[in-house]
């Protein structure tokens, strides 16, 4: 095992990100999609903090990550409300039922 470097954290972030994307793409459950979003955000966060540690980004990376976390919480609250509304309207949480985007 070599020295833990920036690349290792970035790899973790990438995996999280990809998992999030796949999660979003495959889950029919609305809550699952939300979880995918959280994963994507976390992937990004890992990258930020890693850059904060290993490059001259410094405190900025952490600050941004902090913001992301806060905003993700907010997003989660709103998304949940949206999910509830969706559920109220369609009587299911299956996102495939909501095809209003088709226009």
């Amino acid at each position: 095992m070599g020295e833990v470097g920036l690349n290792a954290y970035l790899m973790v972030g990438a995996v999280l990100f990809v998992c999030g994307v796949v999660c979003m793409a495959t889950k029919r459950n609305g809550i699952g999609v939300l979880m995918g979003v959280e994963l994507v955000l976390n992937g990004a966060n890992v990258n930020f903090v890693a850059f904060s540690r290993y490059t001259s980004l410094g405190l900025d990376g952490q600050t941004v990550a902090l913001f992301v976390i806060v905003l993700a919480a907010a997003e989660a609250a709103v998304a949940l409300a949206i999910a509830l509304n969706f559920y109220n309207n369609h009587l299911t949480i299956d996102v495939d039922r909501g095809n209003e985007l088709q226009g």
Binding site: A25, K27, V33, G98, N99, E100, L101, Q102
Partner: protein, 806 residues
């Protein structure tokens, strides 16, 4: 002490402008006064009356200033000068006997050159400028005044007659003083009679306007100004002839008068153009500005010796400058082509033809009798129509003998034609109208045969007796309640004594009767005598033109015949229409007084004949060429007789001519007496025997129908052509251009729609189809979109990695 010229100018200007002020006041009176008010009439009478007083005092002042030199001539000093124009009798006594008077005194004002050239005859005029209308470089047009004895006489005569007629008109137009004037000659569509508010004020306003314009002509100091007032009298005449605007005949006659005059003015304008272009001035007299004297028209043509300075080949006339030398410009002598000078003369004379109703423009004057009778008296006999003669006389120095020959023949033809028509007319005013034309013909003839003084002499005497006769006829018409046809009158002398006998004075005057063996007669005798004498002298010198003597001689008889016919038919014999006779009455004194005054003047104004004061006054203004014997150099080869002094051509034949004319007149009178009083010969029989001639004369020599066919109809046809050219040629060209454009744009549209639009549509269709086929991708499913995003990122990165070199 102001100079004589300025005083004269001031007095005459006042006399001239007062009627204009009167016109303005009366027009406004019309708006604010009620119609029963005679104020306008009094205003008009006051204006013209004061004008008369001004003119008279101007005349007297002038006479005093010149010590009445004009009235005396070495060989005629026996005559008392107690009458000037016959009305200012006691005003001046001793002046006429002052033989030592210097004519040159009058020249101090503006004619220093007269003394420089002692041989040049003194030119007895004053002139000056009111104001400039325009100035173009060296050319200028202005309003001027020009005063000589002729101006003064004309002024006095015009204002006096106008005053009389104004007063007469107060009575004549009395029935217009109403709110409801019923016109029995107008019939409405519904068969009723036409009634309208009276037009008393308007009538006097028009009369004032006329007086102003007429005096303007007389006072004018340049030909352009004459033209201006020429048109203005035409306007007044138009307004007065068409006074009864509701009568179609009146308005048509007014139009006819105006347009006929315009035809004359067309010639006038051409004459003016020639003069303007060749001479560069319109001025009659010379104009002095400081040290520089600018020659007027008369000086330029005639110089100081009164001779035309014709080049050797006879084709050019040299113009003279103010000092009697040939005028030069840039070293070249100024000349005018002789033919152009003739043309200019004829052109100006054309204006006279129109205004004085000479052949071939004579037809408007009889129609002009549609106006109220005082108008006929003032405008269409005494003054305006005489303005043509006045202009011809004023412009005499510019006329070449050829022009004069033309004038003579025009006058000759006119006097004969008009007299013959007058033989058969039964409308009392029309007889007088034709007589006026005929008498004006006499005057023109006189000018043409160099009887300059005779023409103007006749002008003044004619003005008196003709206005008298018109007023008498007006009195008859008013007395008979607007009956004008003589065939319905007769015996009126019992009921209208004053009118009848004053009329007789006029008739005798115009007929030229005198006591045989003596030379005592009424005014017409002297003046006609002078004309016939001039004509005889002329025809003796130019035997080829004997007609110019025969025609006036014969016509003198005809004149006498138809005038007595008029009097006999109207006043003598027995009434032919009982109704008319019963209702007729003599008029109030406001109408008869002017008759009496005018009768006195008609009888006596020419007192003394050619030795008398009137003639002397007029001849005082005579220009040199009119007095001396002149031989023509042009194509016509005529010789103009001289007529001054005992040795003159005219003097030789004077007694012969007088005798012949008198005989002719007496024959005419006797014939009339036999036909209409004694009834020895039945006029109807003659009429039937010569029915062809009679009809021809009744149709006024068929001039009206001739002109209708020659001018009126073609004008209408041409105007129809013009309109159809617009509608049929120009508009179709435009329309076809427009249609062509529309057609082109249609093609353009077709091209657009098939080709250009086709291309565009193709693009659109392809896009649509592609989009349509891609539509399935948009499922609206969230998860698919995420997938697509991921795929997109992959593809993008893949593309980047493959294309960007490491």
């Amino acid at each position: 002490m102001p100079e004589t010229g300025d005083i004269l100018m001031f007095l005459l200007t006042v006399a001239w402008l007062l009627p204009l002020a009167g016109f303005v006041v009366e027009i406004y009176w019309l708006c604010f006064s009620h119609r029963l008010n005679k104020g306008a009439a009094y205003c008009a009478v006051a204006c013209i009356g004061i004008g008369f007083l001004c003119s008279l005092s101007a005349l007297l002042y002038w006479g005093n200033d010149t010590h009445w030199a004009a009235l005396s001539e070495p060989d005629h000093h026996g005559h008392a000068a107690s009458h000037d124009t016959g009305h200012g009798d006691a005003a001046h006594g001793a002046g006429g006997h002052d033989h030592d008077a210097h004519a040159g005194d009058a020249d101090q004002h503006s004619h220093d050159q007269a003394s420089e050239h002692a041989d040049a005859p003194a030119k007895k005029y004053y002139s000056g400028t009111y104001y400039e209308l325009a100035r173009f470089g060296g050319l200028r047009v202005s309003l001027d005044w020009y005063i000589d004895s002729l101006t003064l006489v004309m002024f006095t005569m015009v204002t006096f007659i106008a005053t009389c007629i104004h007063i007469f008109a107060i009575g004549y137009m009395h029935d217009e003083l109403t709110e409801e004037y019923e016109d029995h000659e107008v019939h409405l569509h519904n068969g009723g009679h036409f009634s309208r508010p009276g037009r008393f004020h308007r009538f006097f306003a028009y009369l004032s306007l006329f007086s102003f314009s007429m005096l303007g002509i007389v006072l004018s100091g340049n030909i352009f100004q004459v033209f201006i007032f020429w048109e203005l009298v035409g306007l007044s005449s138009y307004l007065l002839i068409g006074f009864y605007i509701e009568r179609k005949s009146a308005s048509t006659a007014a139009n006819k008068a105006f347009i006929m005059n315009r035809v004359g003015d067309f010639g006038f304008l051409i004459g003016m153009m020639i003069l303007w272009t060749s001479f560069g001035t319109f001025q009659f007299g010379d104009r002095t500005e400081g040290a520089h004297t600018e020659a007027g028209l008369f000086t330029m043509v005639r110089g100081h010796d009164g001779k035309l300075d014709v080049s050797e080949d006879g084709k050019q006339v040299y113009l003279q400058d103010a000092h009697g030398h040939r005028a030069e410009k840039n070293g070249q002598p100024l000349t005018i082509s002789y033919m152009l000078l003739v043309a200019a003369g004829l052109g100006v004379f054309a204006g006279s033809i129109g205004k004085s109703a000479q052949f071939p423009l004579q037809t408007w004057l009889p129609d002009a009798m549609e106006g109220p009778t005082p108008v006929s008296a003032l405008v269409h006999s005494a003054t305006m129509v005489a303005a043509g003669v006045y202009l011809a006389a004023r412009f005499y120095p510019v006329f070449t003998p050829e022009v004069l020959l033309g004038i003579a023949y025009i006058g000759c033809i006119t006097l004969f034609i008009a007299a013959t028509i007058a033989l058969v007319v039964t409308d009392i005013k029309r007889v007088l109208a034709y007589s006026t034309i005929s008498q004006l013909g006499y005057m023109m003839l006189a000018i043409g045969v160099a009887g300059w003084g005779a023409a103007l002499f006749h002008l003044v005497t004619h003005a008196f007796f003709k206005s008298l006769m018109f007023l008498c006829s007006g009195s008859v018409i008013a007395g008979c309640h607007h009956v004008q046809d003589m065939s319905r009158m007769g015996g009126l002398r019992h009921k209208m004594k004053i009118t009848a006998y004053t009329m007789l004075v006029g008739v005798i005057a115009i007929a030229g009767l005198a006591i045989p063996g003596t030379s005592i007669g009424l005014s017409g005798f002297y003046s006609k005598d002078a004309i016939v004498a001039s004509a005889l002298a002329y025809s003796e010198l130019n035997p080829g033109h004997i007609l110019l003597f025969i025609a006036p001689l014969v016509t003198a008889g005809i004149t006498s015949f138809y005038m007595f016919r008029l009097w006999f038919l109207t006043f003598a014999g027995t009434p032919r229409d009982a109704h008319v006779y019963e209702n007729c009455h003599e008029n109030p004194s406001v109408m008869t007084t002017p008759l009496l005054v005018l009768a006195v003047l008609a009888a006596g104004c020419a007192w003394g004949g050619e030795g008398g004061p009137l003639y002397r006054l007029i001849v005082d203004s005579e220009t040199v060429p009119a007095a001396a014997r002149v031989a023509s150099v042009g194509a016509a080869k005529v010789i103009l007789p001289s007529h001054q002094g005992h040795e003159s051509d005219v003097h030789h034949v004077h007694s012969t001519a007088g005798m012949l004319a008198l005989v002719s007149a007496i024959i005419g009178m006797t014939l009339a007496y036999l036909l209409y009083v004694k009834k020895t010969i039945d006029p109807n029989q003659i009429r039937q025997q010569f029915s062809g001639v009679y009809d021809f004369l009744v149709d006024k020599w068929r001039f009206d129908s001739l002109y209708d066919a020659m001018f009126v109809a073609p004008v209408h046809i041409i105007s129809a052509w013009c309109v159809s050219f617009d509608k049929g040629v120009l508009d179709p060209i435009l329309h076809s251009a427009a249609n062509l454009t529309v057609l082109t744009s249609k093609w353009d549209r077709a091209f657009d729609e098939t080709f250009v639009d086709g291309l565009v549509n193709l693009v659109g269709t392809v896009t649509y189809n592609v989009g349509n086929s891609l539509k399935v991708i948009q499922t609206g499913r969230l998860r698919q979109y995420v997938m697509w995003i991921a795929v997109g990122v992959i593809v993008l990165f893949g593309a980047l990695f493959t294309t960007i070199p490491k």
